[in-house]
Structures are given as C-alpha cells and as structure tokens.
Symmetry: C2
Subunit: 151 residues, 2 copies
Amino acid sequence: MDTFGRHLLVEYRGCDGELLNDLDFIEVLMKRAAVAARATIVTSTFHMFAPQGVSGVVVVQESHLSIHTWPERGYAAVDFYTCGDCKPELAHQELLAGLRARAFELMLVHRGDGAHGSCLHMERHLRGVSDPMAPVCASGDVVSASLGWGV
Amino acid sequence: MDTFGRHLLVEYRGCDGELLNDLDFIEVLMKRAAVAARATIVTSTFHMFAPQGVSGVVVVQESHLSIHTWPERGYAAVDFYTCGDCKPELAHQELLAGLRARAFELMLVHRGDGAHGSCLHMERHLRGVSDPMAPVCASGDVVSASLGWGV
C-alpha cells in the first residue's frame, strides 16, 4: 500500500469556548470532518478533561484525525493525517466553520514516499483569518498567506 | 492550562517488518514510549489492518502519540505530540530502538503559545541512520543532520 500521506497540522484560535468543551459536539464534528476528507472511519476515542478540554482521535483506514481543545483559550490543535486520495483540506473547512474559529494557522507536511522522495517535506505554511479582529502572530517561516490552494 | 506543545513527526525506515505487523508489540512499545516521554496515559486504541499493518493512538493528558505501520515497506509514520514538560524525544528513542529502524527522519514543530508567539514553528528537521546501508533520500529543507540535541 502506498505510504504517501498528507498531514495538516492546524491551530484554530478565537473559537467558541463552549463548543470546545462539548465532547459530543467535538466527536460529531471530527467524524463529519473525516467523512468530508473522504476517509473511512475505523474507530475513535474521545475524552473529557477536568476542569475543561476535550481530546479525541478518529482512526481512519487512511491514518488519523486528532483534536485537543483549550476552551478557556478558545484554542484547538488539530491534525488531519491522511494517505491515499483523501482530501484533508476538506476536513479543515469543516473544523474552521464548526468551531467558529476567528483565525487559523496551518502547516501541510508530506510524509512517506511521494513526489519529493522518501522524506518529510513541508509543502505549505499559511495563516488565515475570518475576522479582522482575530489575533495575529509573527512567524519567520510562513511561506504563503494565500487561501487559494484548491479547496 | 499552557497550550505550548512540542510535536515530533517521525518516519522510521528499514524497520523489522514482523514487529511492525505485531499489534501487541506495537501497543506495548507505544505505551512504553509515552511513559518514557513522561506523559500520563489516558486511553488508547490500536487496530490491525488486513492484510497487514497496524494503526494506534495513545491519548495522554498532554496530547497524544500515534503510529501507522507498513510492514511490507519496513516503514512507520509516528507522531509524538506533547504539551507541558514532556520529552517527546525520549519517546523517539524508544521507537528507534524498539522497531530496529535503520534510518529515521524527524521534524520538530512547536505548537500553541510558546517562545515564538502563537504560531506553528518548525524547530528542527533532521535525519539519522543507525546502519550505513540505510536508505537515504534527498530533501531541500533538512536544516540539521546532527543527532546531538539533548536526548
């Protein structure tokens, strides 16, 4: 089986804190994201932390999707790692809308045997805002701020 | 709670294919890696694929560790994402030895609120070999090949 994978690491900021603390909501959203990415769900596990926060993983035939939330910060760290013909960027669109994120930052890493050889390869690093009041940050290695990448 | 996290993305190559196809072995190894990283295990899920391959995730209080294996390729893609004072590089050492990998490639990404601001930040990208016959690959963005980074 082809080992080539596309791994999106995404940070969501300015999210709705109540949603980030709602385990059932997060689980449904993550499974919806997996389906949107055209992945096939194998199993999943979600956990509620005290006093707050949710962690969860959806294992798919094509790898996994994971989330960790900090409701008090309006922040979630998410990974969409899929092999084959999946579209992890479509999972990202589900989360961006579902969490009502005001801003995101995203890194796309190629893994396994791909066009760049048998190597990890950072393909994209970009930020986006859906709200002009969203927090911004300084980073020296953001190589693209364009959102027009074929979603 | 502090959102700062250190996320290691690691590719192991030239591994023992039988070990990569042994679900019980992989599960024990990943849990040992979590403990080595000084993380606290919350829950886990491991799955055996047909005709071969194992996927598994260990959710820890400090985020998660995941693995996907391709026994026929001697290849495993692993993530160690830990927040707080954990040491994901110690988990990497467990896997490197446990899988009998001949080579690895590793990317360290900072996440959440850290010294670099509220941003994803690629801190290190390096390769290592434990066998001079190990496969090598060409990559334009490997910024360090040194293994001496405080493990």
